[in-house]
Structure formats: C-alpha cells, structure tokens
C-alpha cells in the first residue's frame, strides 16, 4: 500500500499577512470580475475589502489543515493550490485544484474537511470566518455567487468521481491533461496546447488515484505515440488533441 509524506507540506504554515487595506486594492484586483465579490455594489465591496487581508503563501505551505476548526476563508488571487484528504496511514487523495478567482475554505461549518496547500507561490484575499459569514448573511448577492460556485465545484467533483471509480490509468491521464489545458486557460479562453503543469508527478498521481510510476509510464507511452510532447518535467504539449479526447473516453 502506498505511503508517502511530502515534507514540503509539513513546513510551518502561518501565512504572512500583508496589511495593505487601501480601497484601491480591489480596483487593481486581477480576478475581481470572476471572483464571488465581482458583482457587489461599490460600497459593499469596499466594506468587504475592509474585512479582508492580502496574504502571500509560498509553494508547499499549507493554509488550512484537514479536520481543523474552519476559522478562515479566502479568494485566490494568484497561484494554484490543492485540496487534499488522506487516510490514517498516509495515503493521500487530491480532491480539488484551485486557480485564481476560486474560493477556498468552509463557510458556515465547524471544521475544514480537507487540507489546502499551495502548489505554487500564491496570493490570497483572506477573511476570518466570523467576518465573512456575517457579511454573507447580510449580502444575498454574495451568497448567491458563492452558491453558483459551489454548485460548479460539486459538478466537477462528481465528474471526477466517474474518473476515479471507472476509468483506467490511460483514460485518467488523458482526461487530466485535457482538464488542465482547459482550466489553465481561464474562463473565456480556448484550451491551451502547451502549458506548465503546476503539479509534480506525485501530485498528478494523487489527483488521479494512481502511483507515480503509473503516471510516468502512461505519460511516456503517450509521448512515444506522439499524442503529447514533454519537453521537460513540468511542461506538456498536446500534439493530437482529438486522439487525446478519444482516450479520455468522455461521457
């Protein structure tokens, strides 16, 4: 049975707060339009801004721990983070990957059901739970945006359950690469044919419920078949998207 402990994750976690709360922050925010705060009225947005703090986290830092009291929530401004759950004996499953404009944390609940760890250096717009929950309760518009986002996350999680439960290694890798190429492109854009993976091989394995060796073998097989190219460890080029889609065995 696989057992691994990623040392980077066990590094001290406390993110460094950056106490710049001037009102122009949101104006300059790259992700505001897509984030849950995007549709707030100007003065509501300013009020929310006063509740939040910008923080930066380094790759490998864990922002929230599985099972801990849920004391903070945040918007992702920049960077990529993983949500992960694990068994008592150390097997890990990544249950979500979040990108800029995504929301993290568990509002309206007691404890955080999974850990949140930065995969790359990241910037967050952080709120304490109490402040955020209170604001959300009095601003239905925010709650509605959060609901929409949560419904989307749920759809994505359930689609991933099909992958985890019923797809074989080759189909998992193909689906994963297509998903990455789409999600790294961002909302409106078309899928990328070349991109840098924010994940190590081990993390790809943890997303797909595989081992690192199987991920490596499948990827080199696809490289040999000229479906993808792997110029270096972190970059992927999709050479034959049609065939990749075919392998992904879409529903």
């Amino acid at each position: 049975m696989m057992m691994h402990f990623d040392l980077a994750q066990t590094a001290p976690a406390a993110p460094a707060p950056v106490p710049c709360q001037d009102a122009s922050f949101c104006q300059r925010c790259d992700v505001r339009a897509r984030a849950i705060c995007g549709t707030l009225e100007e003065d509501d947005r300013a009020a929310l801004n006063r509740l939040g703090r910008r923080v930066t986290v380094q790759a490998g830092q864990t922002v929230m721990w599985e099972g801990d009291d849920a004391t903070i929530v945040a918007n992702v401004i920049e960077g990529t983070l993983k949500l992960s759950a694990s068994t008592g004996d150390g097997r890990e499953q990544i249950v979500g990957v979040v990108y800029p404009s995504d929301f993290i944390g568990r509002p309206f609940g007691r404890s955080t059901p999974h850990s949140v760890t930065a995969l790359t250096d990241a910037r967050l717009c952080l709120f304490t739970r109490g402040a955020f929950d209170g604001f959300a309760r009095t601003h239905p518009e925010l709650g509605h945006r959060l609901l929409q986002r949560t419904l989307d996350d749920l759809d994505r999680a359930r689609a991933w359950m099909l992958l985890l439960g019923r797809k074989n290694a080759r189909e998992k890798i193909a689906t994963f690469l297509l998903d990455m190429s789409q999600r790294l492109a961002g909302e409106g854009a078309g899928p990328l044919d070349s991109f840098a993976l924010p994940l190590s091989r081990q993390q790809v394995a943890d997303v797909l419920g595989l081992t690192i060796e199987t991920v490596s073998r499948q990827m080199t097989d696809m490289k040999r078949a000229k479906i993808i190219d792997l110029p270096n460890r972190r970059t992927v080029e999709i050479l034959d998207r049609d065939q990749l889609s075919c392998l992904a065995e879409v529903a």
Copy 2:
C-alpha cells in the same frame, strides 16, 4: 472492461403529477424541518408550495437524464434515489445517493450533469427550474439553506473521492456500510445496526467503483468473519462496529 445496462433505468420516465396543492400539504410534510424550505416564513412557504407539485416515481424510473437541459428541481419527500454519471461505453458511477429531505436537480445552470433515478418508490416535491430559480433569487433565506446543503454535498463528494481513489475493496465496503448505517438513521439519530439496503449489489458496486463480484466476495468474507450478518439479500446487520470502523480506515 465492465459494461452493463440496467433495463429498469430505461423505462419511460415521466413522473405522474399529483395536483394536490392545498396549503395543508407542507404542514403534513415529513421532511419540511430538514428540507431547504424548512426555515421559510409561513406565507413564503405557501407561495413556494403553489409553485410545486407532488409527484410519485416508481423504483427504477429516471427523473432526470445526464446531459439533458435542467428543467426541474425537487425536494425528496420519501424514498431513495441515485445520482449517476457514465462513460460513453456504458460504465456507470453512482456519484451520490439522496434520501428524504435532500434536494435534487441543478438550479442556476444549463444542463443536468448526472442522471437521477429512483432506487425505491419515491415521492418528490417538484418545481420547474424557472419558477424555483426566480423564487430563490427573491428569497435569500432559501438560497442560504441551499448553499449550506450544497456545501455539505460537496464535502461528502470529496470524502468519497478519497474512497474511490485510495481505498481498497475491503475498506470501500466497510466505509460504505458505515455510511449507510448512519445516513439511513436520519439526522439526529445514532447509526443503525440493522437496515435494509436500498441498493442492489450492482448498485453498491457502482457506488464504490468495483464490480459486483468483488462486492459479493468482500461482503461474504465479512460475514464469515462475523463482522456483519446478511440475513437476506437486502438486509445488513452490523455485528462488530468497532472492527468495521477499523477496516474502513477512517482518515
């Protein structure tokens, strides 16, 4: 590669509407307290009631099809239903099981991401999407309840991803039985030590990402080990909950 088609699912789907819309319906509703409509003011609740229809569906009937336009949503009043996704070649994964007071359907979206099929005869409180979405937008309290429920569903889905990706057959079965014993008991109650499975062996396999043979073997193994008893095909008795919890390898 497994491939099966459950004929019962392909039966004609249209649920029979029961046009009893008198105001006393909600008063007598078994699940109102736990459902999303539970905290509405009396007149709001009456207004919502006027938008909904009671329908009954038979075991095996599919209420919504994966990929269809999302035109309805509903509260489950009685019975058990499955949410399922499948690959192009017929492999199926059950991505959720819903019980009385749960909400089904995809509000605020274009298409239904997974099929919804009754496992037992069931009664639903059904709304058209347009009517429900409009009502929800003007009643933040309802939206908030729905958000809480969706957040819970998302947590559950992600916990299941750990099971699908990282647990072996024995652990999957043990986790599943414990989960069932808890969820069939309902909100406040303690877990049941004896219960009737609303799922066939094939459906258990589809929940766990296994084959029917593996489910059968693991369950008879546990029976031989006196951890559970299986007096007949559909009933399960938990004889040694501690050992079952141990096998489940809880996180």
